[in-house]
Subunit: 508 residues, 2 copies
């Protein structure tokens, strides 16, 4: 048995190496690759992915997993080996259930769709993208069907990003969120708009860069096991827990772009740097889901990085770096500007409060598409109606509406809700951390983050993929996924910032 387990682990290690190598090639492509390198690079990445997939779906792996079922039953369920066997079996089942030809057809279609989508968006022409979108939805419904009878055809797709979560569970939590958020956003929109011109002054890029790196060093990001580079779209990538890299982009006339982006990616990176080194080259060496990953990035970006306590410590330092811009600006003015809420059309530019309404409406539309209640051709109208209802805005054209995001053209259906799941979880986890380490809020005011990071490492990071999101949430917080703490956090913070009484919300 040991021999079979070792054989399996050795094979899984090789497979992990192939996928990690592909990550390195992807990182290089987005940071340092000269323009001419793209074509060969795409071939190389495709080959690594294909070989990794082929190696993982070989029947031999299935036989080994079958032989090892009795071993798994004897093992301590919390042991690394049990985790490896559970996760490898789950991944194997998923990978084998979808026929290779269907996977290939999706790859071909989405590869074409990207260009069609980009052109349609530039030309504000949804009709040009519609046939592609219909095809993608059809293909994703076929993927879903590979998993047999389900409560919702959306479930197997969501499972790609949030193993074990169901559409119904997410919908219940999101409905609760929506019930309270829509009135909150309306109440804020009725207040005078915050002046955030202080954020739009001229900020030297090198100084922005250095300040961001100084902050994440204090967070505990280990530069001997990582680095930051520039890229068009910020991202985090992990080649092992000892080499986790982040990227950012700098905007001279908007300081939150690089800074908050760096804190966000740092949150992802702290998770990956915190995965137990013993899990290297196993299927466990990764975050357990996109939602849990996002809970970490949002926690460091928002709960820490947009909090008044954080800026109590860091604002004097930022003033010292940019005396001409900030020397005479009060902490409260800066803090309020950084937390300005304003309903807008574009998700990626949205603030902490309205952001959730953007993902929420996409989730609702995705589910309707997959469950057959909505046709792709009717998407723009449905989209625009929800934007009006949730954000109070009219969509002037589809480039600012249904065409704005790349996700659907890439076949990512089930991805959007993970952003808001991350927000919800960030508060569930943070409150638990503060309960366990009560000094955390005061520590933040003194630029100390070891207590928080230590708790996250111990309770979340080190496990990697050993537990599913629902298992991890239950294990860490003692309760299931729950929107209430997040809602309470938002209301407390933004009612105070905007001077909104409880009665103003109840009226809606």
């Amino acid at each position: 048995m040991d021999n079979t387990l070792n054989q399996l682990k050795a094979r899984l290690a090789e497979i992990a190496d192939l996928f990690k190598a592909s990550e390195v090639l992807g990182w290089d492509m987005q940071t340092y690759m000269p323009p001419g390198g793209g074509e060969a690079r795409s071939e190389q990445i495709a080959t690594l992915q294909k070989l990794g997939h082929e190696k993982f779906t070989q029947a031999e792996i299935g036989q080994w997993l079958e032989e090892l079922k009795p071993t798994l039953e004897r093992l301590d369920p919390d042991s690394d080996d049990a985790g490896i066997l559970r996760v490898a079996a789950r991944d194997y089942d998923r990978a084998r259930k979808v026929p290779t030809e269907l996977v290939a057809e999706i790859a071909r279609t989405t590869s074409m769709a990207h260009e069609v989508w980009a052109k349609a968006r530039a030309e504000k022409n949804f009709q040009a993208f519609l046939p592609m979108l219909e095809k993608i939805i059809e293909l994703k419904r076929r993927v879903s069907a590979c998993f047999g009878e389900q409560d919702s055809p959306y479930d197997p797709l969501l499972d790609d990003y949030e193993p074990g979560m169901k559409a119904a569970q997410v919908r219940a939590v999101f409905d609760e969120l929506k019930r309270d958020l829509v009135p909150l956003v309306k109440a804020i929109a009725a207040k005078p708009e915050v002046d955030d011109s202080v954020l739009h002054k001229d900020y030297d890029e090198q100084k922005q860069w250095d300040f961001g790196e100084a902050v994440i060093k204090r967070f505990g990001y280990d530069f001997s096991r990582g680095r930051q580079d520039k890229s068009v779209h910020p991202f985090t990538t992990s080649f092992s827990s000892s080499d986790v890299r982040i990227t950012t982009r700098l905007m001279r006339n908007f300081i939150p772009s690089a800074l908050m982006g760096t804190l966000h990616e740092c949150g992802h990176a702290l998770y990956e740097q915190g995965v137990a080194p013993e899990l290297s080259r196993t299927p466990l060496a990764d975050g357990t889901s996109l939602g849990v990953h996002e809970s970490q990035s949002r926690m460091w970006e928002n709960l820490v990085g947009r909090s008044r306590g954080f800026w109590k410590y860091f604002y004097p330092q930022l003033q010292a770096v940019f005396p001409e811009n900030l020397g005479k600006v009060d902490l409260d003015v800066f803090y309020k500007a950084l937390n300005k809420v304003k309903p807008s059309l574009i998700r990626v530019e949205a603030d902490e409060v309205t952001y959730n309404l953007h993902t929420l409406l996409r989730f609702e539309l995705e589910v309707d598409l997959m469950e057959g209640r909505l046709k792709a051709k009717d998407l723009p109208a449905a989209w625009n109606a929800k934007v009006k209802e949730y954000l109070g805005l009219d969509v002037p054209d589809d480039s600012q509406g249904v065409l704005q995001d790349v996700h659907w053209s890439a076949g990512y259906i089930g991805y959007f809700p993970t952003y808001t799941l991350g927000n919800i979880l960030s508060v569930q986890f943070f409150e638990k951390a503060v309960q366990a380490v009560p000094s955390i809020p005061a520590d933040i005011e003194h630029g100390e983050f070891g207590g928080l990071l230590g708790w996250l490492r111990e309770n979340i990071h080190r496990h990697g993929r050993k537990y599913t999101p629902n298992e991890l949430i239950q294990r860490v917080t003692g309760s299931p996924l729950n929107a209430k703490p997040y809602l309470a956090y938002l209301k407390k913070k933004y009612q105070a910032l905007y001077g909104i009484g409880d009665e103003e919300l109840r009226h809606n």
Copy 2:
């Protein structure tokens, strides 16, 4: 048949992707990888190399090659497909002849040997390295034996770096070189030492960097298909002919280090950027041998970059960049300093003339070791005697003698002669280029390199590995490998620089 050929080419393309991916990981390791990333990176590279080797040595490849033998005979021998079939068959035979266990044992041994060698060198203790060296020589003799009866057991090892070349051929050419170089070096050593202090002033590193890049842009290095970065040891690496990267290292107090290093690596890179794009993802997409590769780097570094004509154009520009260091220094003083010859103990610090004696003595010792005339334990004495004979120097300790190079500890036996083969070939090729494009010398004085690069592209670069070194030399120059042009070049240049009459050489 077409189908078999296509299957073979598709497989070879995947194998090429694996090895190129491994190159990307290696480049990153030496440029941007954080210190913590090394362990996982070594595993990833080892896996890619192993899978590439496994895929290439599968019996199926041999069957396809066998089936395609009639096709090869029908094909135009100059066609790409014929080249692919020839080179793939040669590589396959070589890869299959050495048993996997022997390859693995060499990998294990050299992996250990590196550390033992580094320690022995630091401690100037040859005895500590001797057992490892003996083991490596024994293993390489076993590799050689896998190829059956040979004129010399050195031949199959040399073949790794110079396909088709034989020890006897190299020895004849090197003997001719030695006969003339030893007296030349002695005559130079008898002259007053050149004052090269101008090269050792304080040179701003960024300005060095920019100047080097400006020069290679004029050479024709395409930055849209490449880039330069910093690394401890300068190198060139190619991920495709559209992504060929170089590195350099900067020394504030010695300007030739970065500059001449950049021109050298650029020479390698121009070769790789010039391989025909059609050969991408085939076994032909690479330089044909280390010697031919080195002919390109040495040509741009020495024949171009250390020539008086080159500096006639570029020296005023360099003076403008460093007016405080060079403003009052004559071109001739700078040119003489840059071409200073002085016998020294360390190969990598040697000048254009004495360099060859370093590689030559290593070649002679390697052949003696492999042919059994020399025992590893007697190496230091043999080394020191040759250094005395060729360079007129006493070796104070083995760290400055037999222990100085990493090559043997890595199992690279047959590698050293390629450096001098490159020197020899650089002049054979250059003279042919000037014959075909007589304006080249005058062009160089005007900072124009298109004629030279165009000729190299057409006659050498685009073919990749299609022809063996001997085939290429014959095809390009109309004669075999020949030391005479190189010797004539060295004598003309350095007799003039040092005021040495022919009679001074004849006396020796």
